[in-house]
């Protein structure tokens, strides 16, 4: 389904391109080109580091910046306290990095930098990236579960009070619901980001095509579409925050399962 000439292709924004003439870099036959995806990951990391370092001066009377950083750390700390309990502190570094990385990535991808010719790339709209994040969370659950409980970890698949005659069914259902967790985590973030960006591009093609078709079409189709684009952009900022929160929240719930079983 290639886009025809002169149309806006809503999928082009997700194309991965090698940057800085690195398309032939290889290790053992595998291409390791420095792509736009990798570049935006690096920008995200650098901005996140600057944001955190600026707020970690530990002044006795916190300034605005320190308050901002402390409200983020306090937010994640409260969430872990509520969902895991006092053991939750152990996972604070991981969950906090995960939350801030996804949040910054989602928000950076929404920046209107196209106005100055730089096209932001939302790397959270790729299943490979979110998949790796989800597999990391899932392996932490498995490692913690087997480390703390050994083979008793399998009792996760038999909820309390399961009647004996249902033993052939309930563990199977629980096992399936356990195994789809990494997929649902990764899929949710990737599709939510991708759907929003595709929607914005489709609306922008309405605006461009209707204005090109004449002033009347521009007034009756272009202007409402543009208004809708502004509203959807606001919604996307909300979605960027909610998806980062949901990823961190579900990861903490899964870790709680591993810590405490049922």
């Amino acid at each position: 389904m290639a886009a025809e000439e002169g149309k806006v292709d809503p999928m082009k924004q997700f194309a991965i391109e090698p940057m800085l003439g690195s398309e032939n870099w290889e290790i053992a036959g595998f291409n390791i080109a420095f792509t736009n995806s990798a570049m935006w990951m690096m920008i995200t990391t650098i901005l996140l580091t600057l944001f955190m370092v600026g707020g970690m001066k530990r002044e006795l009377v916190p300034g605005r910046w320190q308050m901002m950083v402390e409200s983020f750390t306090g937010f994640i700390d409260d969430m872990l306290e509520a969902n895991i309990g006092k053991e939750g502190r152990t996972y604070l570094p991981y969950i906090f990095s995960l939350f801030m990385f996804i949040l910054f990535a989602n928000l950076l991808g929404l920046l209107p930098l196209g106005l100055v010719g730089v096209h932001p790339f939302t790397f959270t709209s790729h299943f490979t990236v979110t998949g790796v994040l989800a597999v990391m969370s899932f392996s932490i659950v498995l490692i913690v579960g087997f480390w703390k409980h050994g083979f008793k970890f399998f009792s996760l698949f038999v909820p309390h009070g399961t009647p004996l005659w249902l033993m052939w069914l309930i563990p199977v259902i629980e096992l399936i619901s356990f195994m789809v967790r990494p997929f649902s985590l990764a899929l949710r973030l990737f599709v939510a980001m991708m759907a929003g960006h595709v929607l914005l591009k489709v609306l922008s093609s309405f605006v461009i095509d209707s204005v090109n078709a004449g002033a009347g079409y521009g007034a009756f189709i272009g202007i409402p579409s543009f208004t809708l684009m502004i509203a959807i952009s606001a919604l996307e900022i909300l979605v960027a925050g909610i998806q980062a929160y949901v990823f961190a929240l579900l990861t903490s719930l899964y870790i709680n399962d591993a810590e405490h079983l049922h």
Partner: protein, 75 residues
């Protein structure tokens, strides 16, 4: 019907799933608000559960979107 046309019709039908998920997400937030207005004191403690319900309802709508994308670009 041609295979290409059937794919596009299927992708359009998948949009029904997205609409139904919208009902589900609305129901989650609506019910939460209904309960929260009856007992505002307990509302803040239930926000985690609110977002778990939201995430579960939303995921099924996103799956409909994935089905549409697979039909258009992959199948």
């Amino acid at each position: 019907m041609e295979a290409e046309a059937a794919k596009l019709v299927g992708a359009g039908l998948a949009a029904i799933g997205a609409g139904l998920a919208a009902t589900g997400v609305g129901n989650v937030f609506g019910s939460f608000l209904e309960g929260a207005l009856r007992n505002p004191g307990a509302a803040d403690g239930q926000q985690g559960r609110l977002f778990i319900g939201f995430a579960a309802a939303e995921l099924l709508g996103l799956l409909a979107f994935v089905v549409a994308m697979i039909l258009i670009f992959v199948a």
